[in-house]
């Protein structure tokens, strides 16, 4: 059926898969047609007219845009004729007549298609003697994006991206004809979680980011391909540095995963690397004060401590590599004969659906599915690029069924959106699922891909199981488990046991723990079990923190070891949400004495003569994938093969042993926002403010029932008081009040008890701490 199509380009026959655009078919055969508006991942608009070519028709040769013309068998194409050349030069001249002579000060210079085309095709002297179109030079259109309308060539890539891909069309063409400009609405900034993509795909220097502005030195830009560990989507990225400083992150088009896109947090959450507050030397607490020391000194202290105490526990953040998980696992095994205790820094961790009778989904299965079902944390806030992929699936025709109350960001495109009547305030689901009116025709005997995870930490595991068994019974189901923290999927297959923060808060205390390792984790700053965890940690005698910064948790350590970031400071592997493992790579040096977590553990093991064979990264890498078929082992040698750059899929055994959560009565919907008040964001100046605001959300009728008469209010409970803004969100159902727990101090409440919400008149409202 899918037979190749033959076309003749410039006298040579080429073969191409059918249903391709001419520009794509040519590209695949190495024939480059210049273009500005066409972008592989956007619907073609044929606006710039740069890609004109001649095709033969019964009425003679015709000029057509190759970006809007589908190939047909035996099509005869000329991409180099005089007519084509003339037309392209003409378009280029038209684009240049109103383009400023800005290249020397433009961020895009050196990688600008307009500049490149002008060098290779362009007319020398300008024939345009009139005055150029003028606009005010770059205007900020959001906290992180600037727009220079003089440079804009009106290709509509940014507007199409926002409309088609991310679904937040806040940037548009204004005016018409020669007066057309791109702009935002007054007081309605380009506030999108995906805005950085427009900067990346803008073919000229019209859209720039505050973070990269004037930093461009394309001639000494170094780059390496890596994987974003911001969330389990694991977007393929390219890191750019200059003079050993990380300058920029770009999305790489990995067809299976991110298709070139990234979220803004993934893209801009790197400036902390260069922060003055980074830890650069090991610290030891003496008389309650941190003092600089050496790694050696810490090794010898720890050697002593660990020899005398064998109750050792680990609280691991998810921003470490698979190799590092392995190093901790191996290290722990040597310390005790018992099952090592690993707690993952995640409130929502639960057992998930990994049993043998479950068919696990790949991200691309979304595109094949008849129906996509979502019941999880808000994807847009927590797995942003997966949210884009759900949008794509819907655009391609899949039906979308969403269970609330989270994921209200999918409300607009959902075919069914179940909230109040089906789901309790506490995220419990009734027994009436098969009776849900209308929905069965999208479920029964259909190919369903379900994104399933906990919507909120208090949700009973049982609730989710109900939905899954219903879907399993009636449909051909594939499940994509939605956990949302960093490299948590790497932890699933490398650690021999895994528990969550709830378990930690209940189990780990000074009675049973002598030594606690806290690795890249700040549960006190972000967990809803913050208070209990703080109490527990305070009581433990020996707390060893490995971290980039001092924060609410690491400041409780007896030792702090400065570590390298997974973002460009170390090598390793990462496993994403579909168990695709790909490379984390290094581009810049770590500051001061900072070292990788595995290096620290390996050094400590050596010092202690533990003899656990974790001396090199390669060893760890091989250990991480023992038992897999040689061919699909994501060991470095395999991953570095060009065909494996997008990562390798595997079936792993998963070892989650969290205790069952039977649901906690909670009057609030607590969840995370994309930008939070965590250390890395706080110290990345371009986005730091985005995670700072403290607020709660509800719909208008819920707000009005509280009789606040003001958007400013005070949340209080016992001694905790937090002043917040009340934001109206009409997508939430009646009675639902959303509290973002990753904003400062909002995790400090006991959510199982009442929080009082009162108008905030006093400006000097008390803050905790």
């Amino acid at each position: 059926m899918n037979e190749n199509v033959k076309i003749n380009v410039n006298g040579t026959e080429i073969q191409s898969a059918p249903n391709k655009l001419l520009i794509e078919a040519c590209e695949d055969s190495g024939i480059h047609i210049p273009r500005f508006c066409w972008h592989k991942r956007l619907d073609p608009v044929g606006m710039c007219r740069m890609c004109l070519v001649e095709i033969e028709t019964p009425r003679g040769k015709m000029l057509v845009p190759s970006c809007t013309t589908n190939i047909t068998d035996d099509m005869v194409v000329d991409t180099e004729s005089d007519v084509v050349k003339k037309a392209q030069e003409g378009v280029l001249e038209f684009l240049l007549i109103n383009h400023p002579l800005d290249c020397p000060v433009c961020d895009k210079a050196g990688e600008c298609p307009l500049q490149d085309q002008t060098m290779s095709y362009g007319p020398g002297e300008s024939r345009f003697v009139e005055e150029k179109r003028h606009f005010e030079k770059p205007i900020p259109i959001s906290e992180i994006i600037l727009l220079d309308r003089e440079r804009c060539i009106l290709c509509a890539r940014c507007t199409r991206f926002s409309d088609e891909i991310s679904g937040d069309p806040l940037i548009e063409f204004i005016q018409r004809g020669n007066k057309t400009e791109v702009n935002t609405f007054p007081n309605e900034p380009f506030k999108s979680y995906f805005s950085g993509n427009t900067v990346q795909i803008c073919p000229v220097g019209a859209l720039t980011s505050t973070s990269y502005r004037f930093k461009a030195r394309p001639w000494d830009l170094k780059s390496v391909r890596s994987t974003c560990s911001g969330c389990p989507v694991g977007c393929s990225i390219e890191l750019n540095s200059s003079q050993n400083k990380m300058l920029r992150i770009l999305g790489v088009d990995n067809d299976n995963v991110n298709q070139g896109w990234m979220c803004d947090k993934g893209r801009y959450n790197f400036e902390y690397l260069n922060s003055d507050l980074r830890l650069t030397s090991p610290l030891k607490k003496i008389n309650g004060e941190f003092q600089k020391t050496t790694i050696k000194d810490i090794y010898s202290d720890l050697d002593e401590i660990l020899k005398n105490n064998n109750n050792v526990k680990f609280l691991l953040g998810t921003n470490i590599t698979n190799e590092e998980y392995v190093s901790f696992n191996e290290f722990a095994k040597k310390l005790t004969d018992e099952e090592p205790s690993f707690y993952i820094n995640d409130d929502l961790l639960y057992e998930g659906f990994f049993e043998d009778d479950i068919q696990l989904a790949k991200i691309n299965d979304l595109n094949e599915a008849d129906t996509v079902v979502v019941w999880s944390e808000d994807l847009k806030e927590n797995l942003p690029v997966l949210y884009l992929r759900v949008r794509q699936a819907v655009k391609n025709g899949a039906k979308l069924i969403v269970f609330g109350h989270s994921n209200s960001t999918l409300l607009d495109i959902a075919d069914y959106f179940y909230t109040d009547d089906v789901i309790s305030k506490n995220f419990e689901i009734g027994d009436s699922l098969p009776m849900l009116e209308g929905v069965e025709k999208f479920i029964n005997d259909k190919n369903v891909t379900a994104i399933i995870g906990k919507s909120t930490p208090f949700q009973a595991d049982e609730s989710i199981k109900k939905l899954v068994s219903y879907l399993q019974k009636y449909s051909n189901l594939k499940i994509l488990n939605a956990f949302s923290t960093g490299n948590v999927y790497g932890a699933f297959h490398t650690l021999s046991s895994i528990k969550n923060l709830s378990d930690f808060s209940e189990e780990v205390n000074s009675d049973n723990t002598d030594v606690l390792f806290v690795v890249g984790a700040d549960p006190i700053g972000k967990s809803i079990y913050s208070n209990q965890i703080k109490k527990n940690i305070k009581d433990i005698d020996n707390v060893v923190c490995l971290d980039l910064f001092i924060h609410e948790t690491s400041e409780l350590g007896n030792y702090i070891i400065p570590t390298s970031s997974t973002l460009g400071e170390k090598e390793g592997t990462f496993t994403n949400i579909e168990f695709r493992t790909s490379r984390i790579d290094k581009l810049v040096p770590s500051p001061g004495q900072a070292l990788s977590d595995w290096e620290f553990i390996s050094g400590l093991s050596n010092f202690m003569k533990l003899d656990n064979n974790i001396d090199s990264l390669e060893e760890l890498n091989i250990k991480a994938y023992e038992g897999l078929a040689q061919q699909t082992k994501p060991i470095f040698d395999n991953l570095d093969k060009p065909s494996n750059l997008d990562g390798i899929l595997n079936n792993f055994e998963v070892n989650i042993s969290t205790s069952e959560n039977s649901g906690t009565n909670c009057d609030y919907f607590v969840g995370k926002k994309l930008y939070g008040d965590n250390v890395t964001i706080r110290y990345s100046h371009s986005i730091s403010l985005l995670g700072a605001k403290q607020f709660i959300e509800a719909n208008n009728s819920t707000i009005s029932k509280l009789n606040l008469n003001s958007t400013k209010c005070l949340l209080s409970q016992d001694e905790v008081e937090v002043p917040v803004d009340f934001i109206e969100n009409e997508k939430l159902s009646d009675g639902i009040i959303f509290i973002p727990i990753n904003r400062r101090n909002l995790n400090k409440f006991d959510f199982s008890k009442k929080i009082s919400i009162t108008p905030n008149h006093s400006k000097a409202a008390l803050n905790v701490n």
């Binding site: 069309p169 806040l170 548009e172 018409r176 935002t184 609405f185």
Partner: protein
Amino acid sequence: MSWEDSLLKQAREIIDMYPQKRSAVGPLLHLAQSKDGYISDDSISVISKLVGITEVQLKSVSTFYSMYKQEPTGKYLLSVCKSISCEINKSDEIIDVVKDFTGLNNNETDKNGLFTFEAVECIGACGGAPAMQVNYETVEGLSPNNTLKLCEWLKKELPEVVVAEEMQEDFGGYKSFDWAISDQSGTTGSVPGFQTLKTTKERN
């Protein structure tokens, strides 16, 4: 800020006329303009919510069309045609008269909010060139002299309802075709007089 209930009701009626909400954008913008004399950002916010698009999407639409004014217009919008048939029939002289009388350049509004002047493209009165419109009511077969008189009359009489027939009879000349029996309806405000928009009034 925002719209009164009666206007919102009218807006909803307009939306109901179309298979898809967004189609009502055009008439709703006319409606907004009949209220304010231009498309205010406030109207944009109201309409965008009514039809379910973002504000900038609506702004993008509204600024595409030349009849949706981005700044307040005067009580009388004087639109003089400058396209080919009028151009070769000396529309420049008509334009000069209007400019002189009002003291306005193209697309300007006087301080009192009485007149807005614009030189526009063909208004479909080429047989009666040169021609112009006052609040989209057409006058054909103009002479410079009569144009001046028309302007003076508007300024002096300040008619609430602008009716093409009346102006044509008093100030017009050769017409593109016979207009049939005198029509008494005209426009209130610098918007097209049109039933759905309730901008049409009968001259008493």
